[in-house]
Amino acid sequence: MFGEGERFLVLAPGRADRHYWGDLWNYRELFVILAWRDVAVQYKQTVIGVAWAVIRPLLTMLVFTSVFGGLAALPSDGGEPYSVMVMAGMLPWFLFSTMLNNGSSSLVQNANLISKVYFPRLIVPVASSCVALVDFAITLLLLAIMFLVFRVVPDWRLLLLPLFVVLAIVAALGPALIMASLNVKYRDFRFIVPFVVQFGLYVSPVGFSSNVIPEEWRLLYSLNPVVGVIDGFRWCLLGNDTPLNVPSFFVSLAVSIIFLWIGISIFRRTEKTFADLV
């Protein structure tokens, strides 16, 4: 499997592993299989399976559209129907929140693996976050249908969507890794994540456009990494008049990357004790 002749390995306390990233690459098949397992199990176990992935964003979209667009009469982005704008924001939001949820509980859920077999631990939270991509694909289909119904035609910027999907993954992975590491040591962190997600849904511009935030608060608001992701998605998906607030986008991007860096370093610092703690 390693194809590099004989390996020579030294184990010693606190020794940084020279092969860390190479090892991760060598275990890519395990990554694929664990991700596939999580997807297969999720859709085998839940009776409504796919239906759930449709109902959840659909209902949330309806509620947000009627509350923010209807009752509060907030303006939509780029003159698109309010519901389309909400859906375009929910797409990255659900990707982010599902990844955060799955990733942060993944180590504890895979305790049996971690205490019995060696493999690069980073695989576990990343692989279980991948289930979110399946839900994401379903929500994307839903949005495509809405585009047909409301006759919204996205332009060339749609081609940049994959970049923003990567950005959403980066934004979610950092906090997910932090939470996953802490969750191994302190089990009550699992109560914090749902709260963060619930809270995040309202402080992030999911049900409304970030353009309703007063200009002087925009940069501060963008410290929430999801803001940049959602703005990016709307910029890609919605019509040509949807502006992208570039400085605030880069603030979000920077915050996401810092979080990812912190996440990976906390994870690497604690991963060697996981087997003793889970």
Partner: protein
């Protein structure tokens, strides 16, 4: 660096665990950590004001599961690792297979290591046999191409052809174990680390897996093998390491290591405070004693449990093993109607009276098969005991113990 044919070398290897005295058996939470820090801070401040010396770390105790372990293993050696429970065997395997990091010293390993500390690691009940073969293979470090190539052999070895597309949750436990072992049996690493996995399955399958192990051992791979089955160790291993209290007490020929082990094993103190499951069921004490009752003497096994939270004891089976690891006898309390037994936090005891224990003299150990909501498994060597030669009024000298097996039946005999 390394001499060419040494594939594993340890130098001053140690592994330390920190045992918290407060939250025994509980998973730590941040709330506990904060509360504990606050109370420690309060106490420390109080001590400081009173001018008492501050002693850090009195809430926690360090426990060295391994200390100053030095050994070398050469290419192609099949090494048995033996020792009492808690001697550090499993910790050693965990360190060598990179599951946990050593606390001091260093290990040098040459070659690709695969470790098998459990059969069926990562098996998912919802997935089919076929899917689980690929999953488990990948977890053990096989590539997909490798698994695909060995797939027919794995299936044939496990004898599960007809159930390949059935979720494994519908498998019988025998089928499950066979499938799990079969995947592992076709691993082809340079160094294989195995923990007590042969003690599974029915007798026939055990024989088959031992045979497979024998092939592996003869194929020139380096194997590290932990087992309580001394017969297996004796037949498979060319040399052995005897661990005692986290240190290497002997490394050398298997026969010598076994002799030292068997000699010391029977002289150990009774075991106390055996953790059963992480949620806090413990065996506080377990003893076997002979009670001279009103009429006939009888034997009493008493096992005191301590639970930190409520649960229920669904199975609690007493298995008696010979010193070589052969199963000899069983007491199955399910028949008595006293199980399942619901317990709250606190103590409870299991008492088993046995009318006679007609064992041939020698050393025995009792392991408990326990099933609680959080734990299913064998708690090994809960009690170790020796049967002395009963001096009784016997007219003839007994045959030597190895001619008499393990049990000498009481019988009334007539010849007509």
């Amino acid at each position: 660096m390394m001499v060419d044919d040494v594939v594993i070398r340890t130098r001053g290897l140690g592994k330390k665990y920190v045992i918290g005295h407060k939250a025994i058996g509980r998973v730590p939470t941040l709330r506990d950590a904060i509360a504990c820090a606050a109370s420690n801070f309060g106490r420390l401040t109080y001590d400081l004001l009173r001018g008492k010396p501050l002693i850090a770390g009195d809430e926690f105790e360090e426990f060295w599961a391994l200390r100053d372990v030095d050994f070398e293993i050469k290419r192609g050696e099949v090494v048995g690792i033996i020792g009492r429970n808690g001697a550090g065997k499993s910790t050693l395997l965990k360190v060598l297979s990179r599951i946990t990091e050593p606390s001091e010293g260093r290990v040098e390993i040459r070659g690709r290591v695969a470790s098998l500390l459990e059969v069926g690691t990562g098996f998912h009940p919802e997935l089919t046999g076929r899917e689980n073969i690929f999953l488990n293979g990948a977890i053990l470090g096989m590539s997909r191409a490798e698994i695909r190539q060995k797939f027919p052999e794995i299936v044939a070895f496990a004898e599960v052809e007809r159930f390949l597309d059935t979720p494994v949750k519908r498998y019988s436990s025998g089928m499950y174990v066979r499938l799990a072992f079969a995947v592992a049996a076709f691993l082809e690493p340079e160094i294989l680390i195995i923990d007590e996995v042969l003690a599974v399955g029915d007798a026939e399958f055990q024989k088959k897996s031992l045979g497979k192990m024998d092939d592996v051992a003869k194929s020139g791979k380096t194997v590290l093998f932990v087992s309580h089955n001394m017969a297996a160790i004796k037949s498979l291993c060319s040399s052995a390491i005897y661990l005692e209290d986290g240190q290497v007490a002997y490394q050398g020929r298997t026969d010598d290591a076994l002799a030292i082990y068997l000699d010391r094993k029977t002289k150990g103190p009774p075991r106390k405070d055996i953790d059963v499951s992480q949620d806090g069921l413990k065996i506080a004490q377990a003893v076997i004693s002979r009670e001279e009752g009103s009429s006939e003497p009888k034997y009493v096994i008493e096992i005191d449990f301590v639970a930190t939270c409520a649960g229920s004891l669904r199975e609690c089976t007493v298995n008696i093993f010979s010193v070589l690891g052969t199963r000899i006898a069983i007491v199955d309390p399910r028949e008595s109607g006293s199980l399942p037994f619901s317990y709250g936090a606190g103590q409870f005891s299991l008492r088993i009276e046995i009318d006679s224990l007609p064992f041939v003299e020698g050393d025995y150990q009792i392991s408990l098969w326990l099933v609680t909501p959080d734990f299913t498994g064998l708690v090994e060597s809960v009690i170790e005991f020796s049967v002395e030669r009963s001096g009784g009024a016997r007219e003839f000298a007994s045959y030597s113990p190895d001619l008499r097996g393990h049990v000498e039946l009481a019988a009334r005999i007539s010849i007509i």
